[in-house]
Assembly symmetry: C2
Amino acid sequence: MGQSWMHDSSCSVSRSLGVLGENWTFLILREALTGTTRFADFRTALGLAADVLSRRLTTLVQYGVMSQEPYREPGSRTRYEYHLTDAGRELEVVLGALQQWGDRHLPRAEGPSIERRALRTDRPVHVAFVDNLGYEVPWGDVATVRTDAYPKDEAPEAPSQVAN
Amino acid sequence: MGQSWMHDSSCSVSRSLGVLGENWTFLILREALTGTTRFADFRTALGLAADVLSRRLTTLVQYGVMSQEPYREPGSRTRYEYHLTDAGRELEVVLGALQQWGDRHLPRAEGPSIERRALRTDRPVHVAFVDNLGYEVPWGDVATVRTDAYPKDEAPEAPSQVAN
């Protein structure tokens, strides 16, 4: 994605995809969330062309998802590391939601290649809707409600409140 | 995205993006989750070319995210409605995660255009990591652990366990 109109869309899904929705970006973030920082390591892990990787990383830096930091090894020119910002690390929940959906609905015989656990309790964790008291809410019990900021002229024919 | 290799990747994020990651697909799902079912209504809501919309819907039907059902209005030819399957409705959590990230990190002056509430309690809900007892776990307290199914030959240089 990344069409320019998406960046100022009234829909935050569109805005997010304007930054995150281009080919490869989610996989770059997947690598970053497992500790990859160096351009060459992203290339090796993803087998991605340098120019494409460079453009995607530039977009992520531009929108504050990653920060670019120079480093220099003895006898080498200055190169760059890319580190997730706090905003970038928050994307773990988005990646986690994509991962669990794929594990459930596009499974492999070998089973999931990673799992997530709570550091303090070692309990398995999943991604879900949670209320403001910290209790899980089944997705079928969640209503989507339009606010006053919902664009009047873009309103589709759907009802203004939908129970999923 | 949608590169064919992604469909059998060992990574469920890649597999999910192989089905969901093409331009427009998330926005088609956004419309479907708010009640849009008819081809013409998706076109109107998204301003999307018919051939692109048709290809995206075909992929979603092919992978069991949506079902295609014929309908016929008096004096008209048979047309099709597209309904989310249970697998498709589960994507509400993925869209919700994208939405809340955009609302927080790519905000607009008008504020969020929609919000989610628990049907039974009317409490606001967000998307988060939850343990197997149904309690929220802060994303900084979640460890990503490789299973035996993690591909040995694809292992990047990242540690095998990373606290985010």
